[in-house]
């Protein structure tokens, strides 16, 4: 059973485009001006989608948020426009590898951003052919090659190439919204904000794997409230997964350089299988800077379409998160080491074992194969991370 994700802009609320009958439901991302309000699923029946009824449904569901939004419009004047300086204000970095067909759509969205002053850099990671270079040339965006395989190598390469004081990262399988960069840049409200992350919505929900990932596993969205994370108040926490996702994050270049960029021992292309984004966000937080999450910066992401690919991804998620915890453990000192261990313990019990137990009792929808794949990745993650570190050291030496 598939679903069609659509944007629902309340500014010009007319009838929705006709949606093919093979979709049982429509997943609406409700937006008001530059703000995203919420996400709701409605049945794909012509009757329900008449404007009047749609309006009523939306109003019922989001009465509180919408009233607050409408009533608060006059509280302030519009925020002042940012003055243009030398060069671009924000650099967008897309790291890719041999997926020109995916990248094309992504670049099309990136060159159409509403932002007045930005550059796009495609970082081609150990490419096997010229397709990406040709594509970049066609869109007229900057192109650099990072020969060492590994997403974090590519991210660091992009960081070195960026001209702007802010870098925004996205993936080749992501579809940024036209207002994405504007919203991300607006998130840097104060100089002590090191990173801004945004909302990730599904680009398509065609297959069972995609539905499972979005609806059951939890997808990549982090809710519809602005949040500020900081280490300054309260204790150290080790839950980087609440901070954001790699396909929708932006950093202050200074902040990222201060923490030494991304950890090349992590993420895709290494035995760790991922986690470079979470690790960098976690380290930004540890460096004393704050992270702001804004639901207004929207990226749509194409989830893995097949069950096989989903299983591989969950395995990767397991070892990636475990590797991030390993990295945190090695970095932490004193009591914080115990906190990392506690976090790891809770993750194992509350995330993995509990869901497996629920599955056995029939109260969990995610197939056991997937759950076990993630658990396998999790349990093996220290080994993977150790191998990953060795590999990263070797590649770094090769570089020198």
């Amino acid at each position: 059973v598939s679903s069609k994700p659509l944007d629902l802009s309340l500014e010009e609320l007319g009838a929705l485009p006709t949606v093919s009958g093979r979709y049982a439901t429509v997943q609406l991302l409700v937006r008001l001006g530059a703000h995203s309000i919420g996400s709701m699923t409605v049945a794909n029946r012509a009757l329900d989608l008449r404007p009047a009824e749609l309006r009523r449904t939306v109003a019922e569901r989001y009465a509180s948020a919408l009233w607050a939004e409408l009533a608060s419009r006059s509280w302030i004047a519009e925020s002042p426009p940012v003055e243009a300086g030398e060069g671009p204000r924000i650099s967008v970095l897309v790291c890719t590898r041999n997926r020109a067909h995916q990248l094309e759509e992504c670049l099309a969205r990136l060159v159409a951003q509403r932002h007045p002053s930005y550059e796009v850099i495609v970082v081609d990671n150990a490419p096997l052919d010229d397709a990406t270079r040709t594509l970049a040339a066609r869109f007229g965006v900057r192109y650099v090659v990072e020969p060492r395989p590994g997403l974090d190598w590519a991210r660091n390469r992009g960081l070195a190439e960026a001209l702007a004081p802010i870098v925004a990262y996205t993936d080749d399988d992501a579809r940024p919204d036209a207002g994405w960069l504007v919203a991300l840049e607006r998130g840097f409200v104060s100089e002590d904000i090191g990173a801004v992350t945004g909302f990730v919505a599904p680009a398509e929900l065609e297959t069972r794997a995609q539905m499972l990932f979005e609806r059951v596993y939890g997808g990549m969205g982090k809710g519809f409230e602005v949040q500020i994370f900081s280490r300054r108040m309260g204790r150290a926490t080790y839950r980087p997964e609440v901070l954001g996702v790699g396909c929708n994050m932006a950093y202050r270049v200074a902040a990222l350089k201060e923490i030494g960029g991304f950890d090349p021992a992590l993420d895709v292309g290494t035995p760790a299988g991922g986690g470079g984004d979470l690790d960098a966000l976690q380290r930004v937080l540890e460096s004393g800077r704050a992270i702001l999450y804004t639901p207004d910066a929207i990226v749509r992401h194409i989830h893995r379409p097949t069950m096989q690919a989903l299983r591989a991804q969950l395995f990767d998620n397991g070892r990636a998160y475990g590797s991030v915890l390993c990295a945190s453990f090695l970095r932490a000192r004193g009591r914080n080491r115990i906190r990392v261990l506690l976090r790891a313990w809770r993750w194992l019990v509350q995330w993995h074992l509990r869901r497996i137990a629920r599955r056995v009792l029939g109260r969990e929808e995610l197939p056991l194969r997937l759950l076990l794949a993630e658990l396998r990745g999790a349990l093996a993650s220290p080994v993977y991370y150790a191998r990953s570190r060795r590999l990263a050291r070797r590649r770094a030496q090769g570089d020198a």
Partner: protein, 844 residues
């Protein structure tokens, strides 16, 4: 303990445009206190950023405070739409004296006094009571500022507060502490709440002034002074005074009515800081105010900023003191006021509160208190009884301060104009010899010249020698004494009116003792307005006792008079009470009392006919007469039965007004099954039914004596309703007829329409019947609420709350849905509907 670092406290007001907030780098967090129309609508705790731009603040406030803001806005809009938008009449604001008790904290006192001197509503006086100081610094601070200084050498905050009350003269006494800073609007708009004559105190919101140290942050995290964000009125006639006394407010922010203090007494001098019992002096006072049947309102728009203790030892001390105070207060209430509910407070404290704290510590839950702080609290709780004993012993032989016997408040005298009409005072009486003589004596003391009025006393079947007693009096005015044997209040009044010789008739009762210028006020009312109108005086109820029955009776009458004087009040027949009303004699002759109503409802029935004949009602607050209520509960049960009979007759005589009669409200809201069962039993064997009701009276008495007010109220209400049903059955004849009668009434239930889209200047009428309110928003009716419960009177505050709680979500949905219909523009249009416009004035 780890230092969490200081948190900056910032207040942001939505009544002006939001501005960016900059926060110093040393703060690890920010606590935003969000205000709208001067009311706290929420607090937002965030990690510290150097800058919070206006746009982010707007977003955060909209996220976190949306629901509180919505309720506030809806309540305001509803009141405007339902009661009319014209401004309420200018009221005479009561005079306020501010009292600050202090001890050796001149620096903080200085800040406090500066904030008091900047109050928007200037108080009558500001008094500093210096409590057993060890040096002269406080005196020096006070001498430099325009405030009064008084020294109280005996230590104890309660003693100092009492000294402050004795030294000041304002009708209200506002207390704050020396470690507080008050909001400039702290004392604004006190006239309206204190219009409620039963309101004894107003308390307000206490926010942290700073959160610089771990101790301050911990104090705030463990509840601080948090009392919620909703305006609440605690009514001593309805709640258990012991159990709510600790929740109604804080001593750092309270405004007391002096006359309530003269009834309830001053602060207990063996409680409070500076005594061994350490605290709870205000809790005990709140208890007594409530137990007297008074009301205490918590109003989050009265804001005081409190500087919590900075160091951890001080925090431990406070927690220890708190433990002592709770135990001491509960034990003292148990021993002294014989309040069984105090046991529940103790049980709650030990079995719930302390256990929870301990569990949080043992399970290492977030937000737990440090173990040493918990130990301090436990220690305090254990030490409570001993400390209370020590405290009482230390006060032995020291006479507590007392308010001098209340000198009669100086009321503006009503001058008698030469053109004032001559009056006839008619007094029907039945076997109330002493009271009647008192009434006649009071008439002899009138400022109105004795040759301008006469008194007509009609004795109805008196067997106590009233006639001889009255004849024995020598009175300065002309007195006509008539005796007859009608045993009917309506007939007696009609007879008296016929005997009256003067053009204006003032109706009194044999238990209504007028003040010296009551007649002058009546005469003046009729001199100024020559048209046919009824001037309705004010009869404050006078009751000796404090039983639940007496408290509820007093509350009913006080509410009745307050409601009549409210802004935008629409007059209905139920406002007409014969006692202390004056009308033209011709009007009364043309519209006599209906003699078919022998004891009850005769005045409402007349009121209905008068209103329909175009007679205007007008309040005449200057005509004040003390109403001696001696109705016991068993008598009241008989009254309810007579009410039932009279209401059935009333509805039969005035079928067009049926749905507005109290019987409609009664039938509308009682449970159908209950009603069927009662009517069946009452019709089957009325005598047995009555016996069964009366058999429960002794138990009711036990509840009253044991001060189990909730139980008493529940059962008393049930008995009264049962007797009312008996009256209905007696009047209508059978159970089936009662059911048919009820069905007929349901068909004609009155519905009032209130539109929230465009406030009108008139508003809707209040009404004593089974009224339903239809609420329309965004052009369509959203829903309906029932406005009244049986036996209660129209209360705007209750109606508003019902609309907000019952329909708030639906109204908001309708409104948002409507707003989405039109294309939304970037800039909001100029004529937003009132529910979307949070502030007036900002746009202009």
């Amino acid at each position: 303990m780890r230092d969490p670092g200081p948190v900056k406290v910032v207040s942001i007001s939505l009544d002006e445009r939001l501005r960016a907030v900059s926060v110093d780098d040393r703060y690890v967090g920010v606590l935003f206190v969000v205000l709208s129309h001067g009311t706290v609508v929420g607090t937002i705790r965030l990690p510290g950023l150097r800058t919070f731009p206006a746009d982010l603040l707007r977003r955060l406030v909209a996220q976190r405070c949306a629901d509180a803001l919505w309720r506030l806005q809806l309540a305001r809009t509803f009141e405007a739409a339902a009661r009319g938008i014209d401004k309420p009449a200018e009221r005479r604001a009561p005079s306020v004296s501010v009292v600050v008790c202090t001890r050796n904290r001149p620096d903080q006192l200085q800040l406090c006094l500066e904030s008091l001197l900047a109050l928007a509503t200037e108080p009558l006086e500001i008094l500093v009571v210096d409590n057993a100081p060890s040096d002269d610094r406080t005196r020096e601070v006070c001498e430099a500022l325009p405030v009064r200084y008084v020294l109280e050498p005996l230590p104890g905050q309660s003693r100092a507060r009492n000294r402050g009350i004795l030294e000041t003269t304002g009708e209200l006494v506002a207390f704050t502490d020396d470690d507080c800073v008050v909001d400039p609007h702290w004392l604004d708009g006190l006239a309206e709440p204190f219009d409620d004559t039963l309101l004894a105190a107003v308390t307000g919101y206490v926010a942290p002034l700073e959160l610089e140290t771990p101790a301050q942050i911990m104090f705030e995290q463990h509840g601080g002074f948090d009392r919620g964000l909703e305006r609440q009125v605690f009514d001593g006639a309805r709640v258990s005074p012991v159990r709510v006394a600790g929740r109604v407010g804080a001593g750092a922010n309270m405004i007391l009515r002096r006359s309530a203090l003269s009834r309830a007494g001053l602060f207990a001098e063996d409680l409070g800081p500076g005594t061994r019992a350490r605290a709870a002096d205000e809790t005990d006072l709140f208890y007594r105010l409530l137990a007297e049947g008074g009301r205490v309102a918590f109003d989050p728009s009265r804001l005081v900023w409190h500087r919590h203790r900075r160091d951890l030892p001080a925090l431990r001390r406070i927690v220890f003191e708190y433990g002592v105070a709770v135990t001491a207060f509960a034990l003292r209430s148990l021993a002294r006021y014989r309040e069984p509910a105090a046991l529940r407070v103790l049980v709650w404290w030990w079995a719930v509160h302390l256990r929870r704290q301990l569990a949080a510590i043992l399970l290492r839950r977030p937000g737990r208190m440090p173990f040493r702080v918990f130990l301090a609290e436990l220690g305090g709780s254990l030490a409570g009884p001993w400390e209370l004993y020590r405290s009482r012993r230390s006060r032995r032989g020291i006479a507590p301060l007392e308010l001098p016997a209340a000198a009669a408040a100086p009321v503006p005298r009503i001058t008698v104009s030469p053109g004032a009409p001559p009056l006839s005072v008619v007094i029907p009486s039945h076997d109330r010899r002493e009271r009647l003589v008192e009434v006649l004596d009071a008439l002899a003391r009138q400022t109105y010249p004795a040759d301008r009025f006469e008194a007509v006393v009609v004795l109805d079947a008196c067997s106590d020698g009233s006639a001889e007693h009255v004849r024995a009096l020598s009175l300065p005015y002309r007195l006509q004494l008539v005796e007859h044997d009608a045993r009917n209040a309506a007939t007696t009044r009609n007879r008296a009116v016929r005997e009256a010789g003067n053009p204006i008739v003032v109706m009194l009762d044999d238990d209504v003792v007028p003040d010296a210028d009551a007649l002058a006020a009546h005469a003046e009312a009729h001199r100024l307005a020559l048209d046919r109108h009824a001037a309705l005086g004010y009869c404050p109820p006078f009751l000796e006792g404090r039983s639940p029955w007496e408290l509820s009776l007093r509350a009913w009458w006080e509410d009745h008079y307050r409601r009549r004087g409210e802004h935008g009040h629409r007059w209905t027949f139920s406002d007409f009470a014969s006692a202390n009303a004056s009308l033209a004699r011709d009007t009364l002759l043309a519209h006599p009392y209906d003699e078919e109503f022998p004891t009850r409802r005769e005045d409402w029935e007349l009121g209905l006919r008068l209103l329909e004949a175009g007679v205007r009602f007008a309040p005449c607050p200057g005509a004040r007469a003390l109403h001696y209520l001696d109705t016991t509960f068993p008598t009241a049960l008989e009254h309810r039965r007579a009410d039932g009979r009279a209401d059935a007759l009333f509805a039969e005589k005035h079928p067009h007004a049926r749905s507005r009669l109290p019987v409609a409200s009664f039938l509308w809201s009682v449970d159908d099954d209950w009603l069927h069962e009662r009517t069946r039993l009452a019709a089957l064997d009325p005598e047995r039914y009555e016996r069964r009701v009366h058999a429960q009276l002794p138990m009711l008495d036990v509840f009253a004596r044991a001060r189990l007010r909730g139980q008493w109220r529940k059962r008393a209400g049930r008995l009264q309703r049962a007797m009312y049903v008996l009256g209905l059955v007696e009047a209508l004849g059978s159970a089936e007829k009662v059911n048919m009668f009820a069905a007929a009434i349901f068909d004609s239930v009155e519905t009032l329409h209130v539109s929230l889209d465009r406030p009108t200047s008139t508003g809707v009428a209040d009404s004593p019947g089974a009224v339903e309110l239809d609420i329309a928003a965004a052009g369509a009716v959203v829903g309906r609420v029932t406005a009244l419960d049986p036996g209660t009177q129209w209360e705007w505050e209750v109606v508003t709350e019902r609309v907000v709680a019952g329909l708030g979500d639906d109204i908001r949905t309708a409104l948002v849905s409507e707003a989405l219909r039109s294309p939304l523009e970037a800039e909001p249009p100029d004529d937003l509907p009132p529910l979307l416009e949070l502030r007036e004035g900002l746009r202009t």
